[in-house]
Amino acid sequence: MSLTLWNPESRSAPPRRSGMDDPGSEGRFGRFGGRFVPESLVPACEELERGFREAWADPAFRAALNQTLALYAGRPTPVTPAARLSAELGVTLLLKREDLAHTGSHKINNVIGQALLARRMGKTHLLAETGAGQHGVATATAGALLGLDVTVFMGERDMERQQLNVFRMELLGARVVGVSSGSRTLKDACNEALRNWVGAVDDAHYCIGSVLGPHPYPWMVREFQRVIGEEARGQCADLLTHGVPDVVVACVGGGSNAAGVFAGFVDTSARLVGVEPEGGAAVTFGQPGVLHGFQSYVLQDESGQILEATSISAGLDYPGVGPEHAHLADTGRASYVTMSDDEAVAAVSRLARTEGILPALESAHAVAWVLRAAGTADLPSGSTVLVNLSGRGDKDADQLARLM
């Protein structure tokens, strides 16, 4: 059966400059994206798109966002040359340090953007889904900062596994609602958040945690994460003789940290590599489909039932992938590879010992690719490679201690 979900030629789309631009009013990235939500939510998505377009064009909003990122969230995060590991691998390895951002990962960039936007749009409440709890904690944080109520939906199985993050969200004043349907994990939390949003659109903004969901989310979240790539672009220019690294690599769960860093380099000669977890590799092993409001590659069975992702890293445990990544894979502008759980764990340990940096298990997938590729045709000796270190590993220490 061949799929012809979308014919880009037949639609009016804004001109593309680089492949990571405005996806137009229909939120299309090639044959992916769109707005697959119940009719009840369409007006909310349209309102959000309008709100975002206005805010994004408003220097005052940009200034407030930039100021909050700088004074509150700790931006810019540095780019760290990984001297000892570089020497061991024979390549120049740079690390974009999102692990140093407030709450410990790049997630904060997005939630601050969305929370400021929600406030501007007169919303008083934030809804969010969370898997391991990272995005939930980030949303609870942004809610506390701006005085917005926060409700976080979390699968009951995840709540059991991540009790500490539940406590953390509650400490930040958020209400955590357990989701008992389906596999009782992240994808079910997304469903539940969407269901809840339907009944609360007037006051509530649904704060999605990655480049997922109906238009304008994949685009908006990428724009809020673009700061990673823009900072890194300038920092690489300072650090590297050639200004631009040969390769830019990032882990891909939903794909927001990868989208953010790729956006800074998509118009350069840098190769872009997205690293999926073997157990949740939607680009690599998925088929085109529709989930949570968008068309993209999705892990699913023969009859279209969504499969559970099973990665060691909770933050990559998602059966879909942001539609723009599906498109970047289609066009070949970015390539997507998979790493195993064992490779990720080994990468945590290697980076900890050589550089004193404990990466999140998610981010360790990107490091793992460098460890595997260095010295091969994929990353020849002498290459320069920028890894987006999306988060810190403190959250994973418990799990790693049980594993190692």
Partner: protein
């Protein structure tokens, strides 16, 4: 566009002064799920909505989620359920309700063709709104499947106009800003959705979501052409009620609707 057979059938009954009743059953929720559909038909259903279960039913409340989970854990597939429909002779026009991914996975052309083959008349996809459905309407049209669109309380005037114009079979008016599921009282929004739709189209307008009792059905049908009843029935199925008992439930609603109003 001329009316398809489903729309013609519903128009006909509506124009004859009958309040339309479309009860729902989740395909595969039990081994004898088709008997529920047959009992509905016998009790006076004007059409029957059959849900093809999806793992991630974004617009469904707890009852239909549970019915879907039961069906899926029985190992049913969309293909298998459609196969069961083939030649089942339920006794009323059938409308398939399922999420977009089930359709896309099979391929819209193939899926619609298969629906037609097994005798299905209409298709509802709750997560494929007006804007996105356009990519599918060609396939549905080619196969003779009427693609039913939903209109919600939040739908703006201009969208409502287009939805009313492009929906086929009937227009599905969502009573409430929320998911499927029983509610103590009919949402206030129900009436206005119906009224707004009726001003825009002569197509049958059916209201659904949260219509649980015969009284609520009557109330919802007041400004519309009929109702869709789902969660209230599926709760009974989950509780173990037999097809005969469900038939009686539907009959009760049928009779309430048939009482001449004011």
């Amino acid at each position: 566009m001329t009316a398809g057979p489903l729309e013609a059938h519903l128009r006909g009954r509506r124009d004859a002064g009958r309040a339309l009743l479309v009860p729902y059953v989740t395909g595969g929720v039990t081994a004898d799920w088709l008997d529920y559909a047959r009992a509905y038909a016998k009790a006076g259903a004007d059409a029957i909505e059959i849900g093809l279960p999806f793992s991630d039913p974004m617009l469904d409340g707890g009852t239909i989620q549970e019915a879907s989970d039961r069906a899926l854990s029985r190992g049913v597939t969309p293909g298998g359920l459609l196969e069961e429909l083939s030649g089942a002779n339920v006794g009323a026009p059938l409308i398939i309700m399922t999420y977009g991914n089930v359709v896309y996975r099979a391929g819209p052309e193939e899926f619609c063709k298969r629906l037609a083959e097994v005798g299905v008349a209409g298709l509802i996809m709750p997560d494929v709104p007006y804007d996105e459905v356009r990519g599918l309407s060609g396939a549905a049209l080619a196969a003779g499947i009427e693609l039913v669109l939903l209109a919600a309380p939040s739908t703006t005037a201009s969208r409502l106009e287009r939805i009313a114009a492009e929906s086929r079979g009937f227009v599905y008016g969502v009573t409430v800003m929320g998911t499927t599921g029983e509610r103590g009282a009919l949402a206030e929004s129900a009436g206005s959705v119906a009224v707004r739709l009726r001003e825009l189209t002569t197509k049958p307008v059916l209201m659904g979501f949260g219509i649980s009792t015969p009284a609520q059905a009557v109330e919802a049908a007041a400004h519309a052409d009929g109702v869709i009843v789902a969660s209230a029935l599926m709760r009974r199925v989950i509780e173990g009620a037999t097809p005969a008992e469900l038939g009686a439930d539907v009959l009760a609603i049928r009779q309430a609707l048939d009482v001449p109003q004011g």
